[in-house]
């Protein structure tokens, strides 16, 4: 049994948990950054910038995730290769699109054909992070925009009365106070993001769902030292426990964060804390 659980395949399975956690660890701050930038742009007084921010939030929020994942990654990959092709192989005369084929010169391939497999995997993973960040960034942008508008107007008025510039009032008064309004929305997004990680497989990254399915599939004695029937139920049960445990831990952390951010705020939570103290 212990031998079975430590086969190369199982080690890849365990490693894929790391992949998922890494994806979350990288994607969450990056999408928060995208969202913040989007919200700031949407609130900008410069009209084109405001359109850009609003457009980003509206369009990406309106497109189904799966369609976005299928379309955007291919478009991005081919776009990068097309640009590289223009730079590195200016003398190339053959058309890039030949029927169904997308052909660029060898040195424009991303990553290069000669690169070891792990580079291909890192590249695929980065595309995945970027795509997740753009999708969830749009939702985060909407949440943050709402949060910024929820900070009582009196706070900003007071800041202006003290002679703060628009920029100072934004960074010193608005941003520190908006998080308590943003947190419920952001925590929802975090939960959805955790559960959206199996989309990774759509992008060619071998995630936990891929390995669970592969390991759970029935195996015949000719092809493995450990033949077994259909064990997918048990592997998926393990995934269920993993996701439940992970979201539970997240909930605990988010609850503590809410408590902390409520401190001194003119909200029901903040008021309750003040009375208890």
């Amino acid at each position: 049994m212990s031998c079975y659980l430590t086969t190369g395949k199982h080690l890849s399975f365990y490693a894929s948990f790391g992949t998922v956690l890494l994806l979350l660890a990288v994607t969450a701050p990056v999408s928060l950054g995208f969202g913040f930038a989007g919200a700031m742009a949407a609130r900008a007084r410069l009209t084109p910038l405001s359109w850009l921010g609003k457009g980003y939030i509206a369009i990406v929020r309106g497109v189904p995730d799966i369609a976005f994942f299928l379309f955007f990654v291919i478009a991005l990959d081919q776009g990068i290769e097309y640009l590289l092709h223009q730079v590195r192989c200016p003398d190339w005369t053959d058309p890039i699109r030949q029927g169904a084929d997308f052909v660029v010169c060898d040195s424009a391939k991303m990553p290069l054909n000669s690169s070891p497999q792990w580079i291909h995997e890192v590249y695929g993973f980065s595309l995945a992070v970027l795509t997740f960040a753009i999708v969830f960034g749009a939702f985060a942008g909407n949440v943050l925009q709402g949060a910024m508008n929820s900070v009582p107007r009196g706070q900003i008025e007071t800041a202006e009365a003290y002679g703060m510039t628009h920029r100072q009032a934004f960074w010193r008064i608005l941003v520190p106070q908006m998080w308590i309004y943003a947190l419920p929305g952001l925590s929802n997004l975090w939960m959805v993001l955790i559960k959206a990680t199996p989309l990774l497989f759509l992008l060619g990254v071998e995630d936990i769902v891929y390995w669970a399915r592969e390991l759970g599939a029935s195996k015949q004695a000719r092809f493995t030292d450990y033949p077994h029937g259909d064990w997918r139920m048990w592997y998926f049960l393990a995934l269920l426990i993993f996701y439940l445990a992970f979201t539970r831990v997240s909930e605990i952390v988010l609850d503590r964060l809410t408590l902390k951010l409520s401190h001194g705020q003119a909200t029901v939570g903040g008021e309750a804390q003040r009375k208890a103290a």
Partner: protein
């Protein structure tokens, strides 16, 4: 400065040569005995040994990549790998999008398998892997087709009673039926043998593999491999 340009050019040139030598082979990794992941998580099976031998004969450095069956052709044409070697039967529909080498197996039988004998496969509910010749065949009969993304799921559906029978390559079903539980209902001959698929713009590479397959047929080493993995039909 001149030196710098020269050395960059030299580097770019060698990089070009090096990259031309690596051929990425795309496979599914879920279709024993053709291709599957062994306990160590590496690609194994008939096509692994065949592909390695072909690359040796064509003097190419090859790297194995696994890809979902459903997107295996689009990912070839968009250039994620250079060849498909995944138990893919040569059919006219596929040949419109990709170019095949000569077959490296004989046109082999597909077989129906079910829990018990005496089932009319032309009226039953039959499972097959999506985008396969078997799925196309079931759809062309009077049977109800239920498609699954992986071969394993097509068999699991029979065992769980979700469908009445499965239609798949007989070579794939043989070890499963041998272990008990399922019985064969009959064979149908579909497709024109299994070949490697290449981008239509990649004739040169296809030629190299085609020649290597021909040389393996000529010296009998292909027959030895087919026999070793118990795949029906010899050349």
């Amino acid at each position: 400065m001149k030196n710098l340009i020269l050395s960059t050019a030299a580097l770019a040139l060698t990089a070009g040569i090096a990259s031309a030598d690596v051929v990425r082979l795309g496979t599914e990794g879920a279709y024993p005995p053709y291709n599957f992941l062994n306990d160590a998580g590496e690609v194994d099976g008939f096509e692994r040994e065949l592909g390695d031998e072909l690359c040796k004969r064509a003097e190419l450095k090859c790297e194995w990549v696994t890809n979902d069956w459903d997107s295996i052709i689009p990912n070839l044409t968009s250039g994620n790998y250079d060849a498909i070697i995944a138990g893919m039967s040569i059919t006219e529909e596929r040949a419109e999008v990709v170019d095949f080498t000569q077959g490296y197996t004989q046109p082999s039988p597909s077989a129906y398998a079910a829990l018990a004998e005496g089932l009319d496969v032309n009226t039953a509910v039959v499972s097959a892997q999506s985008s396969t010749i078997q799925a196309a065949h079931v759809a062309s009969t009077g049977a109800t087709l239920v498609e699954f993304p992986t071969p394993d799921e097509t068999v699991a559906a029979v065992k769980s009673g979700e469908v009445d029978a499965v239609l798949s390559d007989k070579d794939y079903l043989n070890p499963i039926v041998a272990e008990g539980g399922l019985v064969f209902l009959g064979d149908v001959y579909l497709g024109g043998g299994i070949g490697m698929a290449f981008r239509q713009s990649d004739d040169e590479l296809r030629g190299k593999f085609d020649a290597a397959i021909a040389s393996m047929k000529a010296d009998g080493s292909l027959n030895a491999l087919l026999a070793k993995w118990e795949i029906e039909g010899q050349f």
